[in-house]
Amino acid sequence: MHNLSIKQLSTLLQSKKVSSVELTRYFLDRIQTLDGEINSFVTVTPELALQMAEAADVKLAAGNAHPLTGIPMAHKDIFCTDGVKTSCGSKMLDNFVAPYDAHVVSQLKALDMPILGKTNMDEFAMGSSTESSFYGATKNPWNRQAVPGGSSGGSAAAVAAGLVPFATGTDTGGSIRQPAAFCGISGIKPTYGAISRFGMISYASSFDQGGPMARSAEDNAWLLNAMVGFDERDSTSLKMDKVDYTAGLNDSVKGLRIGVPAEYFGEGLDPDVAVVIKQAMAELEKLGAELVEVHLPNQHLAVSAYYVLAPAEASSNLSRFDGVRYGYRCENPKDLNDLYTRSRAEGFGAEVKRRIMVGAYALSAGYYDAYYLKAQKVRRLVRDDFIKAFESCDVILGPVAPTPAFNLGEKTDDPVSMYLADLFTIPVNLAGLPAMSVPAGFVNQRPVGLHLVGPYFSEAKLLNVAHQYQQVTDWHKQTPEWIEGGRQA
């Protein structure tokens, strides 16, 4: 059951071979039995899930249910969920029970998709390993000595371990794609503005973008259909034409021009990862796609620009956590300033504090032009590189991450080395383009992700390419050995 696709689960529910309550109980049991091994959930919500499943079964019995109705899911703990603790992986919000639903939560609630719980994440989505969570690190189901990636590491690990068919994620600098790659699942970050940010706790608002994380491209297409859409309450939400992302999945990729940036295969890329990616390129060539060399000459500046801009936005966004209206408040504050500064010092973890301070510095008098404005100019250079590259290709291909999953603790003492783990994903966020991660093989029994990047609003094309690749490969169907019913590469 836990290896079935969203489409297969939908068929079982619609034909009443299984009820939503049965399916929900099945996944809740798996979470209870297996999550102790990987710590992918912060909160499990069995009562809410079963109540929603019962409502789903009523609609399924009536015969007019949506194809996604009754399929259990989980939300990254960054999405406000009415009446449920929404911690964002932080002590600051350990006592925060959200008083409203994020737009994405409302959208999926409206389809009666039972919420199994909230998944673990790097504190305030600032990290690439899910080790900075207040609730302890999530472990990679493929190797429990390894990180699952981050910041959406809980969602990625939960899907990879078959604890949930699908979970939401968010991607500010690679936080959907890198954990998807490290855990061997598929994930898509849509065009900036495609999915509402309302109720998604802000990190860096000009980059933050939600998206689905599931086993296959086809699963992601089904979920994207439910999640994309204009929302009045998000000031950067885009008005887009309604697209059925499943419609073009079976299109041929014959004649598709795939751009391969020379810059992706240089220094810093693990040679074994390069081999895996080149095998994927060969598979796509066999399907009739044409490989074209392209150049992204300013990509090496992207990490620096991102680590000015994202912390600058974070320093402003996170100023709301002051111990006054909700969240953590320090004991016995001696005055108002002590209340603010000590609540923040005690409530935030080390990496979050570092980014707030770095951001405050970058925005401070005397440094604004040299850092913030300069980084915004570099952001345009990085984006223009992509636009130029797309003149000679339809999609761009490369590795999601320079290495497979690294070990727990390996990079925690050196924030800068952690930042460099995102060197291939960050440029895409600077540009606001859609991109996805697709399982493409293994290095030392750890999954490797293929990165597909497209022009604005090309989500359907990315999903089509990934789906065609997944028709001739089975990397996305593999599950870790210790999980019953699984087999390893």
Binding site: G193, L238, L336, D338, T341, R354, Q376, R380, V416
Partner: protein
Amino acid sequence: MSLQVSEVKKIAQLAAIAVEPAEFELVSKKLSNILDVFAQLEKADTGGIEPMAHPLDQTQRLRDDLVTEINLREKYQAIAPSTQKGLYLVPQVIE
């Protein structure tokens, strides 16, 4: 680049985060490492390039000036650390 203790104090003040004197050295070292990443930007030739704030160069959308939210004060204050008669309580500011 290496930050002085006085600079760390100023940054902590701007960020409204209390930093214990014993932490200054470590904080300074870690922040300085991150600022070294910033330094790579100096090499970029950005002459004539406009700063970019939004990927699609969009500006903030405006809406009609209408009331769209209902008052949910009691629900929102139920999760506050300290309230009284609909107000948030903080330590006394004025003697």
